[in-house]
Symmetry: C3
Subunit: 430 residues, 3 copies
């Protein structure tokens, strides 16, 4: 009975058109062109590699898409239990009339060809969007992206700032910044001017968010211009920085970004807790991990200093979700944001979703984002989330609290869609 | 079937008269006098503020109780999903014949008036106690509380010691201590004498526990009197302390309290893990948060040094519950105590409750306390807990292990009521 | 319906013959000889002690097995809620036709006598193995174990190395190492030779794994021989080491063990996170606890340096399970291994098991080990795990994903049995 109820609620949630508030879609090539675009998603390459497929086989330069798929398919049996494998099968079924449980040596080639056929249709991208009920997709744009040649009303720009905060010591990054803005970031003032120019450009082109991923040991702090001046001089002179100097520079840039978010009424997405390149022999994008010893207390100064900036926060560690719930419950400018990466599996979404629904104001929860690189993944990923959400609404609200099904679905609609419009619609936190 | 079973067990648990082992009740004004006493509970003011209501609107000096409610009611829609909102609605239904799902502009005034009417009845406090089946309520008393003018057999004194441990550097605290005990705490010996006088007073007035809340980085240690002597001198001379000196003084006072707990056979409630004033612009009592990076290993020296003192321990972070389970399973003097504050929502209680029932001796678990400021909250808070407990007993014991329903309810009775009498009844740990 | 399905799957899992990949069985006395061997398991003595039974009563020298049982039985009522108590009752029912819920003053003596009778039968060990469907049991052997006098094809040797890594400063350990190998570990080279001799001996005698338990603050690192040379000299000279020197020595030995694991294609079981002797007044083996603040990031250098060594990893803290899932999903040489000690209760196994099944390649999960000291415990411990596994397969795979029951049981078979053969069968990680 509880299963049927959860299915009914999920079916209702499935009818709600979506805006995806975080993705890595390339708006110039949003949909896949071959099955290799799907199987090349880092989840499959890294899991296949983890299960024994050498990186060199997967990433050999010059292999055709078909060859890549041919190499990955035999390894899929080892990861058929994973929920990521489910996404793949669901895509194949929903989009390519696949009717088996798994891709095998015997069945993958016809599938490859059929997919190629469909993906070659001129309106494939629109077919995917329609079937997925997507009405908007947030991007992750390099800071020097010209943001031209696509509909920024649908593919919504988002200023991604990891490189600015953590790699300004690299001359290539500074050159790109100078090229994009006309300002050499050689002094704190010039750096600020350059960053301001980025914000102006992005906001002019319809950006709705600034975003960054952060390592577990990062702790934002206000830094005086005078403290960062000699560091920038050293950078320009090609002198390598001490860890302390690097941290000071990162903090200065980060804090300046928050100031511009305030000025431009732009939410600042914080994705907290990733250690980069932990497994350096891994496949592309399959090298990062995390250290659970991280706390939102590290963001205390930031959250207090910028009451007018909305911070949609994602945490990589499931263990930090309770802090996220509690900080969102107390700080007006903290919003819970999706289920990120290693936390994006039903076992963890379940508890994280339930705790948020029970203790965070319903207006401050962004239920889910796809994080996808290719459009086809929105459907199975949001479906996964909607099943968990439907179950939570069934058990905790309809059964547990006696809510009507309509009321429960309304709550679901809000976290799934409504809050995205509210939070990224340009309102200030206070 | 499992739902019906859980409901049956919960119904049984609901008949058990309660002793509430931790509250913030003021025994001179235990029940509410207007709806503002309910809506003024920090859960509602902080959630409403988090959802957008300015602190200044909520805490404007001089507004009437009715005006306060009028300002909060429109904001309640944003937090109607929270379990705290459920408490409020349940109170309104159970005590004031309210029959709607939410307080709205249209329905709150009649409710306000009806509640005022009921609360004005001379036996309102007794009505609440009776309906809530409360047979005793532990208090949280300032160290200089005279403990007079109320029935200490029902409203049981508890010596709260945060100010002594963490704010003895404030002259106002020292003056209150001197006034209460006749001893100026200018030397370690005098401080010890003063603390001893507090214990004597509290125990004479029927106190059953000493209690304190502790920040995540606190680590108790024995401190020599000689080490604390110059620090106390500096304090008296009005010299401000270094962080190291402050910590030494805190440790000295804390350890001395444990010694007096031992001497007086008083359990020492430790509430571990709160960072105070993290969000300083927040509403009253809505400013504190936590850092999940905390471990009970910090209490190793204490737990070994005082085998004869019972330590009922609460942890603020859900992530620390497994440590609490494990330390209670190993240390005879550690008892699990309730579900505190940010962990006091069904999603977290569920797992915390189940793990304790599965691995901690049944005699060493205090299931729940209300933490309430006004008597009306015992009913919905204990009901929330009893539903979770009933479900755990149904799934893990009756279905999972084949226990009879009676046996399961007996286990529930023990953690809900029996252990409170046992632990706070004056027995020693060993 | 979901309950019946879970029961059906569990029943299927129950028919799968087992290899237990980690135990503390003494192959010369594998089965129990009296009920005191069962009640003497540290779970019962430590829980009984935690619930109030003095250590001196439990561990009084010279008491008979029957007297020991007589002293423990009255205390069992206080821990009858624990899942560990369930193991005991299940053993008594399955092996000794016991039909009560609890051992009491009234019923224990006949049980004791009946058990003694059964255990005295010459084929008792074989009876237990048969009923438990055990086809192999991994041991935990002291490094100087001669490994003779038992069937190493059934009782599979495993080189346990805690003493070598953490206690080489003790002359008794060095003497045992010298006696076992003929090499005094007075220089790095000699120490390496001695360790190599241990590996040769163990591998010759059929060892399938090297194993160690590690404290939460341990962080492996490669150490130059030149750095460890003066430390070994000091050790030999009887000079006590500084904490830094001890850590360097531990790291050197540990890294050398990993090198030999690589050379011998031996998996290296890491059991991460235990603090020893936290409660020194506790009963034997009931003194250890943990600090949840530990991360697999501490093993970054090790995991990258030894891609060819398989590391089956157990974590003591439930909070680290997500890291374990994520590191296993990324690193080819990390395998999830069982549910260890304080995490070995259904409430934690449930979430840990589900998250692993959802995100770790199915070939890289070792579902469970018994950790037992006496053979009788395999049955109830594996049963506990199989119930959780059956439930997870039912809910997440058959109901949640539409898998057939057979397919779900196949996944269960793999984590319960198949992967043990694969991982410990001598294959290399890459």
């Amino acid at each position: 009975m509880s299963n049927l109820l959860a299915q009914r609620l999920t079916a209702q949630l499935n009818t709600i058109p979506l805006i995806d508030p975080h993705s890595h879609i390339n708006p110039h090539r949003a949909a896949s062109t071959t099955l290799a675009d799907l199987l090349g998603y880092h989840y499959y390459t890294e899991l296949a590699h983890s299960a024994g497929l050498p990186r060199e086989r997967i990433e050999e330069p010059g292999i055709t898409p078909k060859e890549k798929v041919a190499r990955l398919v035999p390894q899929l049996a080892t990861i058929a239990n994973t929920v990521q494998h489910d996404w793949l099968i669901e895509i194949c079924r929903e989009f390519f009339d696949f009717d088996a449980d798994a891709l095998t040596a015997a069945n993958w080639e016809p599938l490859y060809d059929r997919a190629l056929d469909r993906m070659s249709q001129s309106d494939w991208e629109q077919q995917v969007l329609r079937k997925s009920q997507l009405e908007g997709v947030f991007l992750t744009n390099d800071f020097d992206d010209p943001l031209t040649g696509f509909d920024t009303g649908f593919y919504i720009p988002c200023l991604r700032t990891d490189e600015l905060v953590f790699h300004l010591g690299k001359s290539e990054v500074r050159q790109r910044l100078a090229a994009a803005t006309g300002h050499e970031p050689g002094t704190p003032a010039a750096l600020r001017t350059a960053l301001g120019a980025l914000f102006a450009h992005f906001v002019n082109r319809g950006a709705r968010a600034c975003a960054i991923s952060l390592p577990p040991d990062f702790e934002p702090a206000a830094i005086a211009q005078s403290a960062v001046e000699p560091i920038l001089k050293a950078v320009v002179a090609g002198i390598s920085l001490s860890p302390d100097e690097s941290r000071t520079l990162s903090r200065f840039v980060f804090w300046t970004l928050a100031e511009f978010c305030s000025e431009h009424h732009l939410p600042f997405d914080l994705m907290i807790g990733v250690n980069r390149r932990v497994y350096e022999a891994g496949v592309s994008q399959g090298q990062d991990l995390f250290d659970g010893r991280c706390s939102l207390i590290q963001y205390r100064a930031l959250l207090n200093a910028f009451p007018q900036v909305v911070f949609p926060i994602s945490v990589l560690s499931h263990g930090m979700n309770q802090e996220l719930v509690s900080y969102s419950w107390i700080f007006p400018n903290v919003v819970t944001n999706g289920h990120w990466w290693y936390s994006n599996i039903p076992a963890y979404i379940d508890l994280d979703c339930r705790s948020r629904l029970q203790a965070v104001p319903q207006t401050k929860q962004i239920g889910y984002y796809s994080d996808m690189y290719k459009l086809e993944f929105a459907l199975p990923k949001f479906n996964m989330y909607r099943r968990v959400l439907g179950r939570a609404l069934a058990d905790d609200f309809v059964i547990g609290r006696g809510w009507s099904e309509n009321r429960a679905v309304d709550l679901g609609r809000r976290v799934l869609r409504g809050n995205i419009e509210r939070v990224f619609g340009g309102e200030r936190a206070v």
